[in-house]
Symmetry: C2
Subunit: 415 residues, 2 copies
């Protein structure tokens, strides 16, 4: 397909159902996941909506969205309780009856028998109700099946359960059933140690030579994501643009596969057999928590120290009284002694240390809130870096955590 004649856009919408969401009692994370899955497959997500457990409101919403979108994906309201009204709302909107599916009865009847009252048993069995003609998505966990129903023409209504671990595997199944958009999936170049505007300056000239490839930049504290979208150029051109962007971004780009920074650190350290340790003051355990969030991190991460008080820096890491008194807790020398101390005490090959002022209080004219010293220590020596990080307490801590992980990553790359 030539870039001058892009394929017509396929529109999509995402709906989450649940009064606890519209009342602000629960943060909805499904919408972002589903919207990303749709847009990275080339759908244009027109809107995302959350509504309460109200059959009329939801029925009208389904009808309105299916009039303008080819795919509507909804989560929530598929369970066994009275509040679970998504099936009925879909039935009204599509004017399709709900029918008990024989293939679901066995499993649900086994579940129903565990309940003592007839009404509880009936509730369980409500989950066997499927829209006429819909494809059933069997649950891999949980009890409620999902459904992919056809609306008018080629439009599809996808119903998925609300709990994210039940939703995720069914989303993959459902997407495989949807018509192809003819567009390549979005590609994401994850970067650290570079500003959003510097990343833009580097990649902009490349995109001028790749017509039909769209660019979005996304900054989160300490990280920048360069996203390339297929605006008609096709998979080969998107792939070529991705390689060209990765080349100009150089070592700032840590993944083109959607890995997190901590995942890259754990994977590369494992490949090279480098045992890691951490020493944290202002990040207070966030670097350790990020590394240990990665399954398999126990193979390379030995452990660390959160040395919040000076006594902890002395007692657990061996930072000297002299350093703490003359240079202070937030200094190059303290960071270096923290990094060296934790590496030697744990027998690690590589360590990182962080000490700084996260705020809101504790800042001075000399050492303002946001000042953070980092040190990296290996058998080859110890070196420190100073950064002035932007943001409130949470912002400084998040940026310091990313910086520490990035220092580890670059050190491992060089090793």
């Amino acid at each position: 397909v030539p870039a001058e004649e892009p394929i017509a856009r396929r529109y999509a919408a995402v709906v989450t159902v649940g009064s606890e969401i519209v009342e602000g009692l629960r943060l909805d994370t499904n919408t972002r996941e589903i919207a990303f899955a749709l847009s990275s497959r080339g759908y244009h997500v027109r809107e995302t909506v959350s509504v309460g457990d109200d059959i009329d409101v939801l029925g009208d919403l389904f009808e309105a969205l299916l009039a303008s979108c080819e795919v509507v994906v909804a989560t929530g309201g598929l369970g066994p309780t009275h509040d679970d009204i998504t099936r009925e709302a879909a039935s009204r909107a599509l004017r399709l009856p709900l029918e008990e599916r024989a293939e679901l009865l066995d499993r649900l009847e086994r579940l129903a028998r565990r309940h003592r009252t007839a009404s509880a048993r009936d509730n369980v069995m409500r989950q066997a109700q499927i829209l006429r003609g819909a494809t059933v998505l069997e649950p891999t966990s949980g009890t409620a099946p999902g459904q992919v129903a056809r609306a008018h023409g080629t439009a599809a209504l996808v119903l998925l359960p609300g709990p994210p671990h039940e939703m995720r595997p069914m989303l993959e199944q459902a997407l495989a059933l949807l018509p192809a958009t003819g567009r390549a999936p979005a590609r994401q170049l994850s970067c650290a140690g570079i500003t959003e505007s510097d990343a833009q300056l580097l990649v902009q000239p490349i995109l001028e030579n790749h017509h039909g490839v769209g660019l979005t930049l996304l900054a989160t504290p300490g990280l920048v994501s360069v996203v390339l979208l297929d605006d008609g150029a096709g998979p080969d051109a998107v792939h070529a643009a991705t390689l060209a962007c990765a080349a100009v971004l150089g070592p700032a780009c840590y993944s083109t596969q959607g890995e997190t920074l901590a995942e890259v650190v754990v994977r590369t350290a494992t490949q090279k057999g480098i045992a890691l340790a951490t020493a944290e003051s202002c990040t207070g355990g966030l670097v350790a928590a990020a590394l240990t969030s990665v399954p398999g991190s126990s193979a390379v991460y030995l452990g660390g120290v959160t040395s919040y008080a000076d006594s902890a820096k002395r007692g657990l890491l061996g930072v000297s009284d002299d350093t703490l008194e003359s240079a202070g807790a937030v200094s190059a020398k303290t960071a270096e002694e923290m990094a060296g101390g934790v590496r030697v005490r744990l027998g690690a090959n590589l360590s990182v240390a962080v000490t700084g002022i996260a705020g809101p209080s504790g800042g001075t004219a000399d050492k303002p809130v946001g000042l953070v010293w980092f040190a990296v220590s290996s058998g080859a020596g110890t070196r420190s870096e100073r950064r002035n990080l932007f943001g409130d307490r949470d912002g400084v801590r998040a940026r310091a955590t990313v910086t520490a992980l990035d220092l580890l990553r670059r050190e491992i790359e060089r090793a």
Copy 2:
């Protein structure tokens, strides 16, 4: 107002504007905050919607929502760039012109002068454009002002900037300008160490004696929130119901003021002068990170150890070879030696230790994934507790973190 004649519901809607949100590139956290602020002030939030940076789509959405809601709060799209189309969309929907406000010119002209090109200066000055008759919300950080505009009748359209730290203070200002709903704010009883169904069994009988008070239960990993809503009973009745619920929930209820568990631990430890320390294996720094997320935690939290490898348990905490060999790393004895070790080494009054199997691998028939041992150590002695926690790696780690914080909280309460 008697419970039999509740005040008419006031409807509200929340809108977020930004292509990066509908494309799933960024998690929208503003919607939850705004929806909670509205519903806890008695508004019935009918729906929350996110749309891209499209002036027609947004204009139509504003018009549709203002036809059925008394308040529409929108975030995003108020900045200086070409993508920032919320002002124009609101102008179309309300049929009100945008006018340059004299009171904003001084500040914005100072900002504009920093830019070199005329178009960049013009962009900055776009932020002085305010809907005719609207109230300006001055920014406390960032550059874009917010606006509260009147639609037909009493309906209000509130425009706020997208960055959460710019949005939050303006949201409070805007809410103070909205008509009162006549309903008391929602009350939240935050609980730990109790299941959702046990909490329900305890509070349900109380609500049968408090007509016009609504109940919502909300479970997040390890925590349960009991939310009481004014369904017409009025502030005094909601307050009385809150006290009665707190009494039956007993020590499981850690806050009726919206504090986090870590905030309660830091506050009560500070009040009682109890210095804290942590030793973590499977939670990998999350307990330390939660405590240090609280401003002022440095007054009571001395530090901790993330002893992921056995060598770290031995070297940094003094867990004995004999214990690690005979009882294993996930055992009562190891947890107790970890808690005692970190308390003595840091000179703390109270410590907590966590060691368990977060998965996905590492589980055995004897010690399955989800098995976690906790220990609490003080001058009075050390005791351990075993829990079998539910969930995947993230779920087990989150529940173990909450359990550790709750053990600290209850121990501090007794001290």
